[in-house]
Structures are given as structure tokens and as C-alpha cells.
């Protein structure tokens, strides 16, 4: 799959924070009944993680899982293994009512690095991004300006952001403007 390309194809920008194309990420949408033991088992076996709580995102050695809604999860894996992951879930959950589908290509992913990542996102998202309200391990499905996005902190100063593929270039351009040097309001770390 050497001819598979992400939307902004590796672009990055160094401003008040660094904005970088996170490349192709394997993603599988899994809808089902969260109270079902087999669903929990299937997720555990697929990515090695227990089901997340509401608005929780987890990353492990085998992959990751994020809570998207009361009946929807997003599983993360290597891009090349997403189809295999779907097949595995289909097998494990055969006979149950569920939906597993590869959405890796429907997404664009970005990584933002730097002390000001919260403030860059807070220029476009009405979510409360203060350190008290938004902690590592929490995912927010929100918007950035006019566009639907989801984001979470993968480290104290590292924000992961996912949007639809078709708006990947728009979101990248948006992030570069918001991350322009010297434009952070310094609200979250102000005294």
C-alpha cells in the first residue's frame, strides 16, 4: 500500500505549537451494546483494552479505543491492519447485533505539540479546554470553527485531532493560522 497517501501528505508547520500530519491511522467504527460481555471481550482481544467510560480514550501497546457515543466506539490500530481488525471483530461477534467498519480512509489525523495546544484548539472549539476541565485520557467530539473534529491529549503538551478526510486540508490550514507565533491568548497558563 505504498501508494496510499494521507490528505496533507506529511505536511508540518512550526508556529506557537507544532502542527503535523499524523499520517494514515487505522480506525474502525464499532457500534454495539456496551453491556454485552462479548463486545467487551471482542474489544479486549482486538486492541487489548477494556471498554472506555463515557468521553474516555485509551491507548495501549496493541492499539487504542475511544468512546464516541453510548453505542459507538472508535478503535485505533496500524493503518494496514484495519481490515484484519474488522474481520476479527466480525468473527468474535458473529450472531450479535453490531456494526464494525473500517473508516481509516475517511479520516485525517493531526498531532499538535507544544505548551499552547489547548489554546490553539480553544480558538475554534467551544469545549472547555482548561487543564481542570479537560484532562489527558478524555476525548471530545466537538468542532473547530465550522468543522466537526474530535481531539484528545496523548501527552501533557500533545494534542491528537481527527477530522473527516474531505476537510483535512481545510483543518490543516485552520490550525496553521490559529497556531501562528505570538497569537496565543495565554489564558490557561496565565497567573
Amino acid at each position: 500500500m505504498s501508494d496510499a497517501v494521507s490528505v496533507v501528505n506529511g505536511a508540518s508547520f512550526d508556529g506557537a505549537v507544532q502542527v503535523k500530519d499524523a499520517g494514515l491511522v487505522g480506525m474502525v467504527t464499532l457500534r454495539g451494546d456496551f453491556t454485552s460481555d462479548s463486545l467487551a471481550k471482542a474489544v479486549k482481544s482486538a486492541v487489548g483494552l477494556a471498554l472506555p467510560e463515557a468521553r474516555q480514550v485509551k491507548q495501549g501497546a496493541k492499539g487504542g479505543v475511544a468512546w464516541m457515543s453510548p453505542d459507538e466506539l472508535l478503535l485505533f490500530c496500524e493503518y494496514d491492519t484495519a481490515d484484519a481488525l474488522v474481520a476479527k471483530l466480525n468473527k468474535a461477534l458473529a450472531g450479535e447485533h453490531f456494526l464494525a467498519v473500517n473508516v481509516s480512509d475517511a479520516r485525517a489525523s493531526f498531532t499538535l505539540k507544544g505548551a499552547g495546544v489547548r489554546e490553539v484548539i480553544a480558538k475554534g472549539s467551544p469545549a472547555d479546554l482548561s487543564p481542570e476541565a479537560f484532562r489527558q485520557g478524555e476525548i471530545r467530539r466537538s468542532r473547530l470553527g465550522q468543522v466537526a473534529v474530535a481531539f484528545w491529549l496523548s501527552g501533557p503538551d500533545t494534542m491528537e485531532l481527527v477530522c473527516f478526510r474531505s476537510v483535512g486540508s481545510f483543518v490543516y490550514d485552520w490550525l496553521c493560522v490559529a497556531a501562528e507565533k505570538g497569537t496565543l491568548p495565554e489564558y490557561f497558563n496565565a497567573g
Binding site: 456494526l99 467498519v101 473508516v103 480558538k123 467551544p126 478526510r165 474531505s166 493560522v177
Partner: protein, 1007 residues
């Protein structure tokens, strides 16, 4: 003449001289000046002309309430009209121009309107512009347009050189206003641990306290202010933003802050304004008060100013507004101005006090300083044209007979102070009239209510009606604690800071000066400076029957200018109340609406400009299309190529070439924008049977079926091909614009009506690049690309799909056709879309493969008589209108729209129905949307219409024009010729034919 003093000027730095340009003149000011103070320091009393009469106008105020000193600021991409000189900080190189004058500020032709004053009474526009209608275009519009208008719009070719942004902030307590009450409140809330955001519109704190000589804890107010700001700065839970105005308060604790980042220093990089979108548990407004003018004749002559502003300019900027300043008042506060002027060595010819007695400590101090105090006295009229030369005095109780005249350069007036209740009122906070203090003040028992039914706005200090410094700071302290505790924090119950200022005697409500001002004087007495509304206008409105303050406002334009009546509202409604013989609270105020003070359009737009103005969705082949002649057209938020223009050909030629290439050999189409929704579950078939008009549950695995979706009202909403992936799983294609809407439609039914059905959906539109390989040579191209699938007609017949690999890429070719040709729509992973596209182009080279755009797609589907959602449908069309009865199941008990389609109007045989149309002259293409007429006329004189065109093209395949349309009795009138009206009055004859123009049997696609 106004000038710079040697002393005073607490805000200016005399070591930092700044140069600026005023109407082409090079003038100097100091760092810390506003444009207004710098103009006054240079003796520029005349700063603009009024809106209606072009009267000469000078600076009246020192803050955002200023009605007159509106200037055009900056040049080119930085030009902005109607900027207030009083809120514009001076910087080196500032360029400003006065407004509303021609040819010059000093000599203005429009000033003759002044002579016409008596001909522009209240409601002039309504009375004059009723009739005759032709006068609108030829007389009123051109004349008024030239004479009226506020400032000049920026050059339409210029683009704003700056950029703007938003910032979303959340806090427990938002404090608006950094005066002593706001600071005390922020401190108290901050100490409780609450997250506090304090906004101050100026770049300094303390409000009026330092100017008014207030002492706090026994020391000058400035000491306490500095210490408190330092204390707040050191608190981790407190954020302070200066140059940030609280612009508006909205439901659920939402507020807007308007931060001006570079207006004072344009050399700073980054956004010019930042719009803070704040969500707070409690909003505390400590916004102070605004002084009211007095209503005496000639109160708009340059040099007549608010007493507080005269004091501000002297103490803050070291500027005197004139050597001799008459003070006119109805309260004690204005004596502070008289005393300050006298102490600065200037002359105060007299204090004209409307009250019959005045004995407060400030009055006595003024008397002791030798200032002449005339009680029971009024200004009969101000004399002077472009500046004040003298004032006439009269009895306040009389009609205005002049008893004396005093020479002076300026008049400092005070009609009392009105609390700034705007932010309290934006979301519904109610006011009480305090007749003793002559002001509206917030009623704390009727605050704006939040989602929990509790008040979410609190008001403190002067804004709460506490004009006295000691009461204001104590109120700020208490309300700050209250806000914190309401937000869930434990506020300390400690003692408030102790402030002291001179006590004030009672105010006398004076709405007219003198009391019984005669009509002649009323016509020279201005209430609203910016809109030129006079006392006589409001009285006339009342006389003509206007009782509601809202109606009077609109009739007279009182308070409708950019200052939103900050100076004029209370005086105006008091005059109205007096004219109606009513009490002021009975008349009430007009509605306070955000923003408090105009904010820039840029701040409202935020970052959304240029490429970020509107979201643009791109397919995986977007960039390739862009660099290969794609002529873009918007399709929902996507861009799709209308055609791919080659060198030397017109758009029309490109479209015709693309069609013939497809019909004769093979073409490639980017169909990625088509919506793709997975529907899975044991009840998926049952669910789709409800959504589509035809039967989907009987579809075989591996096969496709075209389907129609209707709204509950029976109207066509979307169409597309459904593929059954396995027993439980379907993939529904939607129109390009419909993917999000239809997915939401599915989820709505599943979540609200059929929540117990076992169905899951997922929108996978963007997972796939969908590429059409279309034309007689399509199969050859795919086979040449290399595949592990049998693509033959037997193995993969029309309306089937397969899964496998093509060109080494995982692919699912669907044998579906919107062109009537042999066609494979191949879905591949989006990340490999471009790779597949490139491989197809390479493989198709020997067949002359080229891409085709949306217009070729449209023409080819019209040749085949296929409908297009949005062309043949417009929200009022049902499938039966389009002859699609074959796609409406008669076996199904129900589907969305079924019952609606049985309503009498839906089964009316006279509904316009779809037919094909061929013009008599094959080269004439009927205009889109043209109406079919039968030559008769309706009772109302309109031509009788019997149908309309829905699609119309030139078909290069058939070498003639073709059209589809909805026509009354159309299908029964095959072969008839009917007329279509053109806008020039002529008609086009066309024959009614079958809508399928090409290959009715489907032989071309079934190979």
C-alpha cells in the same frame, strides 16, 4: 480654544511625543493620549458634521458614549469609518479624517440643511416618502443618499489588511469593568478560589475614582488600585484582560468580550481583535455610569461638553477645553469640574445651577474658592457657531427670557449620571426608576435567569446605582462574594475597603432647561447628537399620538445611531413622558441590545476569511482536477468539476467533447462525493423498506437496486443505488449533497421512532474514492489495469457488484450506470484514490480516456431520461409526478410518504407530470425554468401556465436540443406541440415526447 496644560495628565507620558495626521494636518500628541485628547490638545474643537443637518460638532464625552467624534481611521486596507476618537488610543503615524462634510470640515455645503431644520421634523421620512412613487427613484433616493450617511464605506476593492480570531473561555465569575467596584468584586471572588476573568475596556484601571479624588483606606485611590491589580495578577485563578470590552450578555451565562490587540500599536503582529466567547457561571457587571447632557438650546455647539469629560481631559491628559468654562448642572458632581478647573488656574465665569438651593460640601467649597454660583438659573441659549462664544442665562422656572450673558470658550454640563445597565439588561434584567436619584437602576430581585431558574447576572458599584465611591466599593466587595458563592465557592466575609469622597447634595431632575422652554428654543435643543433629534421632534411625536417609547424611537430616530442613545435615551424618554403627562417609569426604556458599543465586523467573522471563509470538502482527486483544467462548481460543500477544459477549447466545447468521448469510447468520472451509508442489522431490510418507496428487503446479496426516498409529506427527498453486501448489511448511495442529511434522517427515525429496531448505521462516504469508468471500452480498461475479478457480462451483470483487486488496489466495482453506457463505479480506499485514477488513465490511454465533469454527467443522464434530485424535484414533486410509479411498491404496507401521497391534491390528475420535450428548431435550447403557456390569460392578467422546464440541454449525441419538463396532462399529450415563454415575450415551440431520448431498451448499458 482647547489646549495642553503644563500640569496634570496622569495617563500621558510627555517624554514620548507621537505624530499623527488629522485631515492632512500633521499634529503632535503624547503616548497615553486618546485621539480625542490629542485633538483637543491641538485646539481642534470641531471634529465632524452631524448626520442630518451637517451641523458643526465637537467632542462631547471622553468614553464610548461619545456621539460626535466619529472619524475615518487608517488608510487602504486598514481604513475603517465611524471610529470613536475617544476610544482610539493615539499611536505614531495615526491617520484620521473627519466625516460627513463636503467639501471641507470648516466649510460644508450640506450645512445649509441647518436652515432647513424646520422642514425636517420628526417622521419626516415617513411623511414625505409616501408618494408619489416615482419620486423615490429620481428625487428622494439620490438627494438623501448624497446628504445623509455616516462616514464613508471602505473601498469595495480593498481587503481588510488585518486578521481576527475567536477564543472560547470558561470561568466561574466573569467580572466586566475594572473600576474600583469591579476590582473589589474580582478580588473577593478571586480569594474564594473561583476562576475569575476580569475585563477592562481601557488600558488602565480604577474608572473615575482617580479623577474624582477618591481616597481608599486613607490613601489616594490609585494606591489601592495598583495594589489590588497586583494582588489579582498574582492569583493563579484570576485572569485580567485590558483593552477588552464586555460587549454582550446572552442566555445561559454566555458573554462576548471584545479584545483590541493591536489598535493602539499596529506594528504588533498577529490578530487585530479577538472575540472572547465566554461561558461563565456568574456574570458580574461593574460598568459604571454615563453622564447625561442637559437639554438647553445650542447644547450641540462645539465646546459644550459633559462636565465629567472636561475633568477627565484635564486630569488624565493635561488638556484644557478652554480658558473660560461655564459649568451648567443640576447636581453636585459637576462642582468637582468647576473646582478642578479653578485649581488648575482656569477661569470659571459661573456655575449655572438649576436647583433653587445648593448647599452641599462641594458647592460650599466652590463658593469659598470664589466661584460665582447662580442657583435657580438655566442656560437660555449657547452662542457661537463652530465654537462656543458665550451663553445666555435665564430663570430655570421660566420660558427662556435672557437675563444675562457670559462670555466663555466652553460649557461643562451635567444632567446627572445614568448607571450603565446595558449588560444587565441584554438578557432581560429589569430596572427600577429611582426618582430621588433621577435614574434607572437594576432591580436585583428581577435578574436575567439562567437554565436553573436563578439569576446569572449580578451588578455592582456605580452600575448598581451607587454613585458614591464608598458605597460603590462596598457593593463591589459584597456582590463579588455573592457571585463566587453562587458559583459554588466559599467567599470570605471580611470587611470591605473603606473609600471616601465628598458627600453630595440631592439632584434635581431637569429634563428641559429652562423648565418651560419655548418652542423656538426646543428646536435648537438636541437630545440625540448623532441622529440630530431635538426636543421639538420628540414633543411633536407625542403630539401626533406616539405613546410607546419604542415607536417614538423609530419615528424620530432617537437613540438609533451608532451610540445607541447612550447620552440621549433617558433625556428623550423623559421629554416624551413630560409631553404625554406620564411618569418616566410608565414610559420605560427602549430595549438594550448587544453589542454595548460597536465591534468590528472582522471580530465577528473571526478567522473565517479567504481560504477559511467557508469549509471546502475535497475529494481525493481534488488537486489533480485543479491542475488538469477542472472548471469548479460548488456542490454542497464540495467542489466538483463542471468540465475539464483543454487548451484552446471553450467550456461548451469541453462538455460536448467529454460526452462524445464517453459515448464512443471510455471516460473516467470522479464520483467520490456520492454519499455512502452502511445500514446493518437484523432489521436493516425492514428499515430500508420504510425509508425507500420501493422494496429493498428482497434485494439479493451482491446486487444493486435504485431507490427513491420521500419525506413524510410524500415529496421526493433523495435517490440512489442500494447494494446488499450481505444478509444483514446494505450500502445506501445518496446524492452528493445528501450524505449528511440522509444519515441524520436515518438516525432520527432510528433514535426517536423505531428505537427498538436492530439497525446500526455508519456514514462511510469519505472512506472511498468512487471512480466511474464509463463507455463501451470500460471493461477493457479495467481488465488492462489487472484484476482478480471476472468482469464479464455473465459474471458481473448490470446492477451487480463484486469485491476484489484492480491494479493491485482493493476495489469494489458496481455495475451501475447514470449515463446509459457500460459503466463500472469502482470504490477504492480514499487514500489510494489518486493511485487508482492514475492507473486508469494509463490503462485507458489507448482508448483516448479523458475525465468528464458534472455537466457531461447531467447531459448524458438527461439523454437517458434519468431524473436528478434538485432539477426534476424542488421539494414539491412526488415520484408519481415523474412517472416513477414503477419504483413505488404496492405490496408494502407502509413507507415514509405513502399516506401523504394518497391525499387528494397528490392524486389530482391535473398535477404537472414529467415529459420529454423536443424543440421545433433543434438548435434552440429552451431556457432553464421556462414556463409552458397555453396562450390564455388568467383573471389577474398573468399568462396561464401549464408546465415548466426542469432540465434542458444541447445533446451532442443526438445533435439536437432536449429538455424535460412537468406539464399538465403531459403524458396524455404525446406528440402535441406546446409553447414555452421567454422573458422577452416571444415563445418557443416544443413537441411533447417520451423523456427517454436515447436507447430506451438499455442495450448500451446491458453489455
Amino acid at each position: 480654544m482647547s489646549t495642553r496644560l503644563q500640569n496634570h495628565g496622569r495617563l500621558i507620558d510627555r517624554s514620548m511625543r507621537l505624530e499623527f495626521n488629522w485631515n492632512g494636518k500633521r499634529l503632535n500628541g503624547f503616548k497615553g493620549d486618546t485621539l480625542a485628547s490629542a485633538l483637543l490638545a491641538n485646539g481642534e474643537m470641531l471634529v465632524g458634521r452631524s448626520f442630518k443637518y451637517h451641523r458643526p460638532r465637537g467632542i462631547v464625552a471622553s468614553g464610548p458614549e461619545e456621539p460626535n467624534a466619529l472619524v475615518g481611521l487608517g488608510q487602504g486596507g486598514k481604513y475603517e469609518p465611524n471610529q470613536r476618537a475617544t476610544t482610539t488610543e493615539l499611536f505614531n503615524g495615526l491617520t484620521a479624517k473627519s466625516q460627513n462634510h463636503w467639501p471641507s470640515l470648516e466649510f460644508d455645503v450640506g450645512g445649509v440643511n441647518r436652515v432647513m431644520t424646520r422642514f425636517f421634523p420628526a417622521g419626516f421620512y415617513y411623511k414625505t416618502f409616501m408618494a408619489p412613487s416615482f419620486a423615490w427613484k429620481h428625487v428622494f433616493e439620490p438627494v438623501i443618499r448624497k446628504a445623509a450617511g455616516l462616514g464613508a464605506a471602505p473601498d469595495p476593492e480593498e481587503r481588510d489588511a488585518d486578521r481576527y480570531e475567536y477564543f472560547y473561555a470558561h470561568c466561574d465569575v466573569l467580572v466586566i469593568g475594572g473600576g474600583i467596584a469591579g476590582l473589589a468584586a474580582a478580588l473577593q471572588a478571586g480569594k474564594s478560589g473561583a476562576k475569575v476573568l476580569l475585563l477592562e475596556q481601557e488600558n488602565h484601571f480604577g474608572g473615575r475614582a482617580p479623577v474624582d479624588g477618591v481616597t481608599i483606606e486613607g490613601k489616594p485611590a490609585q494606591d489601592w488600585i495598583d495594589a489590588t491589580v497586583a494582588a489579582l495578577d498574582s492569583m493563579e485563578n484570576v485572569t485580567i484582560r485590558t483593552r477588552t470590552m464586555g460587549a454582550g450578555v446572552y442566555d445561559h451565562g454566555y458573554a462576548l468580550g471584545y479584545e483590541r490587540l493591536t489598535d493602539h500599536a499596529p506594528e504588533i503582529a498577529g490578530p487585530r481583535h479577538r472575540l472572547w466567547r465566554i461561558r461563565a457561571k456568574r456574570i458580574l457587571t461593574a460598568t459604571g455610569a454615563i453622564e447625561r447632557p442637559l437639554s438647553f438650546a445650542g447644547n450641540d455647539v462645539p465646546g459644550v461638553m459633559l462636565a465629567g469629560a472636561v475633568r477627565d481631559y484635564m486630569i488624565n491628559h493635561g488638556v484644557s477645553v478652554g480658558d473660560g468654562v461655564v459649568v451648567a448642572t443640576n447636581n453636585d458632581d459637576a462642582y468637582r469640574t468647576a473646582i478642578a478647573l479653578k485649581e488648575a488656574g482656569l477661569d470659571v465665569p459661573a456655575v449655572i445651577d438649576a436647583r433653587s438651593t445648593a448647599t452641599g460640601p462641594l458647592v460650599e467649597k466652590a463658593r469659598a474658592m470664589g466661584i460665582r454660583v447662580e442657583t435657580g438659573t438655566a442656560i437660555s441659549s449657547v452662542y457661537g457657531n463652530k465654537k462656543v462664544t458665550s451663553v445666555g442665562l435665564c430663570k430655570q422656572s421660566g420660558e427662556g427670557t435672557k437675563t444675562d450673558e457670559l462670555d466663555c470658550d466652553a460649557v461643562a454640563m451635567s444632567g446627572g449620571w445614568s448607571p450603565v445597565v446595558h449588560l444587565w439588561s441584554h438578557c432581560g434584567g429589569k430596572l427600577n426608576w429611582d426618582s430621588e436619584m433621577a435614574m434607572f437602576r437594576p432591580d436585583p430581585s428581577r435578574p436575567p435567569l439562567g437554565a436553573d431558574g436563578e439569576g446569572f447576572v449580578l451588578v455592582a458599584g456605580t452600575a448598581n446605582g451607587h454613585l458614591d465611591a464608598a458605597a460603590a466599593i462596598a457593593d463591589g466587595h459584597a456582590v463579588g462574594a455573592q457571585a463566587a458563592s453562587e458559583a459554588g465557592f466559599d467567599a470570605k466575609d471580611d470587611a470591605a475597603p473603606l473609600a471616601e469622597s465628598e458627600a453630595e447634595g440631592p439632584i434635581l431632575a431637569v429634563w428641559s432647561m429652562p423648565q418651560g422652554q419655548n418652542k423656538k428654543l426646543q428646536m435648537k435643543t438636541f437630545l440625540d447628537y448623532q441622529n440630530d433629534v431635538k426636543v421639538s421632534d420628540v414633543r411633536l411625536a407625542a403630539q401626533e399620538g406616539y405613546e410607546s417609547v419604542e415607536h417614538t424611537k423609530r419615528y424620530t430616530t432617537l437613540g438609533m445611531a451608532t451610540d445607541q442613545g447612550k447620552l440621549s435615551n433617558i433625556n428623550g424618554l423623559a421629554v416624551l413622558a413630560d409631553s404625554l403627562n406620564a411618569e418616566i417609569p410608565q414610559v420605560g426604556t427602549t430595549t438594550f441590545r448587544p453589542p454595548y458599543h460597536p465591534i468590528s465586523m472582522g471580530a465577528i467573522a473571526g478567522e473565517a476569511r479567504g481560504g477559511l471563509f467557508k469549509v471546502l470538502r475535497r475529494t481525493p482527486m481534488h488537486d489533480w482536477t485543479d491542475s488538469n483544467g477542472g472548471v469548479w462548481e460548488p456542490v454542497a460543500d464540495w467542489r466538483r468539476p463542471y468540465c475539464y477544459q483543454q487548451a484552446g477549447e471553450s467550456v461548451k466545447e469541453a462538455v460536448n467533447r467529454e460526452i462524445l468521448q464517453t459515448r464512443n469510447s471510455v471516460s473516467i468520472l470522479d464520483a467520490s462525493t456520492l454519499g455512502k451509508i452502511i445500514v446493518k442489522g437484523p432489521d436493516a431490510g425492514k428499515f430500508l423498506d420504510m425509508l425507500y418507496t420501493n422494496m429493498m428487503s428482497t434485494l439479493k446479496v451482491g446486487r444493486c437496486r435504485y431507490g427513491l426516498m420521500c419525506s413524510e409529506n410524500g415529496f421526493l427527498s433523495d435517490d440512489g443505488v442500494v447494494a446488499r453486501l450481505d444478509e444483514d448489511t446494505f450500502l445506501c448511495h445518496t446524492t452528493s449533497g445528501g450524505s449528511d442529511r440522509i444519515h441524520a434522517w436515518m438516525e432520527e427515525w432510528l433514535q426517536t421512532e423505531w428505537w427498538d429496531w436492530k439497525v446500526y448505521t455508519a456514514n462511510v462516504t469519505e472512506q472511498y474514492a468512487q471512480i466511474g469508468i464509463v463507455g463501451p471500452n470500460a471493461r477493457k480498461v479495467l481488465e488492462k489495469m489487472g484484476t482478480d475479478m471476472d468482469l464479464s457480462a455473465e459474471a458481473l451483470p448490470f446492477m451487480a457488484f463484486a469485491d476484489g483487486e484492480i491494479a493491485g488496489i482493493k476495489a469494489r466495482p458496481y455495475r451501475i450506470s447514470f449515463s446509459g453506457e457500460l459503466s463500472y463505479e469502482v470504490a477504492v480506499p480514499a487514500a489510494q484514490g489518486q493511485a487508482f485514477w492514475d492507473a486508469a488513465l494509463a490503462a485507458g490511454k489507448e482508448f483516448g480516456i479523458t475525465p468528464y465533469g458534472t455537466e457531461a454527467l447531467h447531459v448524458m443522464r438527461a439523454e437517458k431520461g434519468f431524473i436528478m434530485i434538485g432539477d426534476e424535484t424542488d421539494g414539491t414533486v412526488i415520484p408519481q409526478d415523474l412517472g416513477l410509479n414503477w419504483a413505488i411498491s404496492k405490496k408494502k404496507e407502509d413507507f415514509l410518504g405513502k399516506r401523504a401521497q394518497q391525499r387528494p391534491h397528490m392524486v389530482d390528475p391535473k398535477r404537472w407530470r414529467l415529459v420529454g420535450l423536443e424543440t421545433e428548431d433543434p438548435s434552440v435550447v429552451i431556457p432553464d425554468g421556462a414556463y409552458a403557456v397555453d396562450g390564455t390569460t388568467r383573471a389577474n392578467g398573468v399568462k396561464n401556465m401549464i408546465g415548466r422546464i426542469t432540465s434542458t440541454y444541447y445533446s451532442p449525441t443526438l445533435k439536437r436540443s432536449i429538455a424535460m419538463g412537468l406539464v399538465e396532462d403531459g403524458p396524455e399529450r404525446m406528440g402535441d406541440t406546446i409553447m414555452f415563454a421567454r422573458t422577452d415575450g416571444t415563445t418557443i415551440n416544443a413537441k411533447i415526447v417520451d423523456p427517454v431520448f436515447l436507447d430506451k431498451e438499455g442495450a448500451r448499458q446491458n453489455v
